[in-house]
């Protein structure tokens, strides 16, 4: 059953703490996306990678957010320091270059108090 796996599913943290979200893309997919979903803004593209190289991170606040792909089976999104306005559901999605469909994980619900 090929699917995108995200951990943790839920995270509650205090303002100022570091948060790391992890994503395991579907095996063989070479493009990975990070999206943030809020009621006000909907789904926003934060960053995406192809073959582990960052292609576009213009949607990501650079001062506190960072995204990496240490290897082809792991993508990480880190927030340091976290702020209450970062509270949202963060989705990872993966796809295959040359195709059109992006497959989403179940998301990480982040609450910063």
């Amino acid at each position: 059953d090929a699917r995108v796996t995200q951990t943790p599913r839920d995270k509650v943290t205090e303002m100022g703490q570091e948060v790391t979200m992890r994503c395991q893309p579907i095996l063989g997919h070479n493009t990975v996306f990070w999206y943030r979903q809020t009621m006000m803004q909907g789904l926003e593209l934060l960053a995406y990678f192809r073959n582990r190289a960052p292609l576009d991170d213009s949607g990501m606040p650079k001062d506190r957010f960072s995204a990496e792909m240490p290897d082809a089976t792991l993508a990480t999104l880190k927030i340091q320091p976290s702020e209450p306005r970062d509270s949202a559901v963060y989705f990872c999605a993966s796809g295959l270059a040359g195709t059109t469909e992006a497959f989403f994980g179940q998301g990480t619900r982040l609450t910063v108090v």
Binding site: V4, T31, F33, Q41, G42, L43, E44, L45, Y48, R50, L55, D56, F91, A93, G95, L96, A97, G98, T99, T100, E101, A102, F103, F104, G105, Q106, G107
Partner: protein, 114 residues
């Protein structure tokens, strides 16, 4: 700048009715227009998609109508069922090729009443 505008925000339809969700885009470089369906607690999942060289695409009870000159496209759900209750997102992707990032509309919360 919101590149994909979606309406309505919410919609309630009786079972068997035909909900229609509309989207408009601004960027003429978009070349792929999918609709995603999202159930509570789940990630969005691709429902149906269209390219601008056709005016309509049908898959089961779901139909996309596309008007390239007006830069608008819409989703129609025929014979709607309570199980179709979900949030629907339209999206668009640029012409860079490959699985590039999608620009999403803000979503429509659809309720199908029994």
């Amino acid at each position: 700048q919101q590149q994909v505008k979606q309406s309505p925000q919410s919609l309630i339809v009786q079972k068997g009715g035909i909900p229609i969700i509309n989207c408009a885009y601004e960027n003429t470089a978009f070349d792929y227009f999918p609709w995603y369906q999202q159930f509570p607690g789940k990630g969005p999942a691709l429902l149906i998609a269209i390219r601008p060289d056709v005016s309509e695409k049908k898959e089961g009870r779901f139909t996309i109508s596309f008007n390239k000159s007006a830069k608008q496209f819409s989703l129609h759900i025929m014979d709607s069922q309570p199980g179709d209750s979900a949030t629907y997102f339209c999206a668009a992707r640029g012409s860079g090729g490959g699985a590039d990032g999608l620009t999403f509309g803000k979503g429509t919360h659809l309720i199908i009443q029994p």
